[in-house]
Symmetry: C2
Subunit: 208 residues, 2 copies
Amino acid sequence: MTRRDDMAADRRRNGSDTPSATRDRILDAAARILSEKGYSATRLADIAQLAEVRAPALYYYFSSREELIAEVMAVGQRRLREHVESALAALPPGTAPMDRIDTAVQAHLQVELQLSDFATAVTRNLGQLPDDVRERLRSEGSEYIGLWRRLLEQARAAGLIRPDLDLRAARMLVMGALNWTPEWWNPRQGSLTDVIDTAKSLVRHGLG
Amino acid sequence: MTRRDDMAADRRRNGSDTPSATRDRILDAAARILSEKGYSATRLADIAQLAEVRAPALYYYFSSREELIAEVMAVGQRRLREHVESALAALPPGTAPMDRIDTAVQAHLQVELQLSDFATAVTRNLGQLPDDVRERLRSEGSEYIGLWRRLLEQARAAGLIRPDLDLRAARMLVMGALNWTPEWWNPRQGSLTDVIDTAKSLVRHGLG
DNA sequence: CAACTAATTTATCTTAAATTCGAAAACGTC
DNA sequence: GACGTTTTCGAATTTAAGATAAATTAGTTG
């Protein structure tokens, strides 16, 4: 085991990371490339260039391409969930279920379209990852899905959702509408607020 | 110019194709692999194996990997549009705009999830294609988008769509919900009819 | 049945990209 | 300002995949 691996291991264990500006630049660059080009077309050389280092430098911080990509995805998943969770947590207690769903829609779209290439990297690539990477991301992913399931279940329990809807299908269709936005939305063609408002309205009336 | 190119050229010109069973097997295989793995991860070797030939045989029918993939995408786009168009055409004249939208939702999902790997290949890969290939597919793609635009415009003209909705955003969100389905739907986890019915209901109430 | 053509194969070439390695900078410390 | 440690780099290695070439098979036709 080399010196390098020890360090990486240390990093992961204690949070005492001085998270090396370079390492962050590399991660950011990877997120960006990944969200634009997709898993298989993501080249280490491109990431390196964007991060302003040479390709071998990546190996100082990550043990392999897969490792780097897996890290980007993990960060993306976590940020997405945390952002939506904290938006919900900020609501006054007793907020109506439909308003909570509105909030989740808005938060999801904000992260996806404005805040984080990491989140976009996740939604655009989860489906095309090799099995072993996907496996590592599964539990975090299930948690986010669980969050949405609970949102919908609470709304249904309150009698706010039409009973003809298959709740799982409805949830996945809604999340699909949100996840697909990076494919078409462009800041120059319409404001983010328009998309968010339209999405809220569509979801609220679609479900209720 | 070799004999081979002449033949391929002939094929394209006149429709007198005896569309070689092998060529079709290759196209089908390519559609399948493409829809599963995505553009960059699609290997000629995998396609060949699925089509039960050796990789160089592909070059007898297609001049390059890009050519083959572009053909798959073109077929996929055309089939998707034609299927939805003919479903609409089969409706009695004077069918209400919302019912027409229902029909389009259903037809789109049927092609996407049941009828054609080609359609799935399109929705999952359009965003990651190299520019020159995307360029070739653009006009057909715009036509399909135009179809949906007209559907929504007619519904709005009839006063059936809430005026707070941004029509373009609404359209893209709806198409996103549909296009995302291949990412999660699995015949073993729920019937196609459930998904279709839920989608119809979601869209109808979401818009109107 | 010989000759031609279409279809497909095996073997080979080429290139692009990930990775490894050892050496050189850069940095902090005494 | 030499010394050890961290960080980065250029060059070499390896591998995988697309593409081409040449040979082979099978089928058709004169």
